[in-house]
Symmetry: C2
Subunit: 124 residues, 2 copies
DNA sequence: CTATGTGCAAACGGTTTGCAGTCTA
DNA sequence: TAGACTGCAAACCGTTTGCACATAG
């Protein structure tokens, strides 16, 4: 990864993502950023999110559509089947699974993602 | 879910999916089915996969692109960062997580998905 | 017989990219 | 001042959908 500049756009994208725990989509984040940079394009949002993910500054959450997470501490998520939201689950992450999995299927395992499936308390 | 017909197409899609443990994409499955039904359309594949998922006959695996799993027993997956494959991990699933998560964040939690991140033994 | 299913092709929607001009370091 | 970055618009590509015809039950 070459010489990296901190542009006004990149800085504000990161700031806006750090303001929330809602894991916005690129489009939602674009709306948030546009309150401060009205002319920013969705393409710039995507390009910057990609760079920030590759630098490890933020996390990508895959699903029906991509969401982004400014919290890079290990944690789990709850996906609400009702409203589609992705909420943090403040639970101790399970240890030792990687080694077990490696024994069972070979290869090199770095970590795991865990999503709970259910209905969030807001929709219940 | 109304009156359900077992068409030639639906039957063969299910059969082809049961033949493999590779979690094919809709397009890959279409190629497989076309060896037996050369004129089947991708639209029909998608429509049938959707019905089969809703009936609980197969599972949908979300990610960069949708994949489908003919094995409906609870199990985990290894996502290879190198080749993009999704492989089964024959490991006991973790129990009791749902109750813990429900205590912590409320709502109603039915289950969890767990994906290991790493490099499969084929790419290592 | 009739509602469900199919093939086809066009539409959709999230994401990526080419380009010409801009701005950070 | 060079090369990274931006806004814009078009392209991309996986998925969905409308339609006229076919077919399972």
């Amino acid at each position: 990864m070459q010489d990296l500049r901190m542009t006004r756009q990149r800085k504000i994208i990161l700031e806006e993502l750090h303001k929330v725990t809602t894991h916005p989509t690129a489009y939602e984040l674009c709306q948030m950023v546009r309150t401060r940079l009205p002319r920013i394009s969705l393409g710039t949002i995507y390009r910057n999110l990609d760079i920030l993910v590759r630098r490890g500054d933020i996390n990508k959450i895959e699903g029906e559509e991509m969401r982004f997470d400014g919290n890079i501490c290990k944690h789990y998520h709850l996906r609400c089947q009702m409203c589609g939201s992705v909420e943090d689950v403040h639970l101790e992450t399970v240890n030792g699974l990687e080694r077990q999995a490696e024994e069972v299927c070979g290869g090199k395992i770095y970590g795991h993602h865990l999503d709970f499936i259910g209905i969030c308390k807001h929709c219940c």
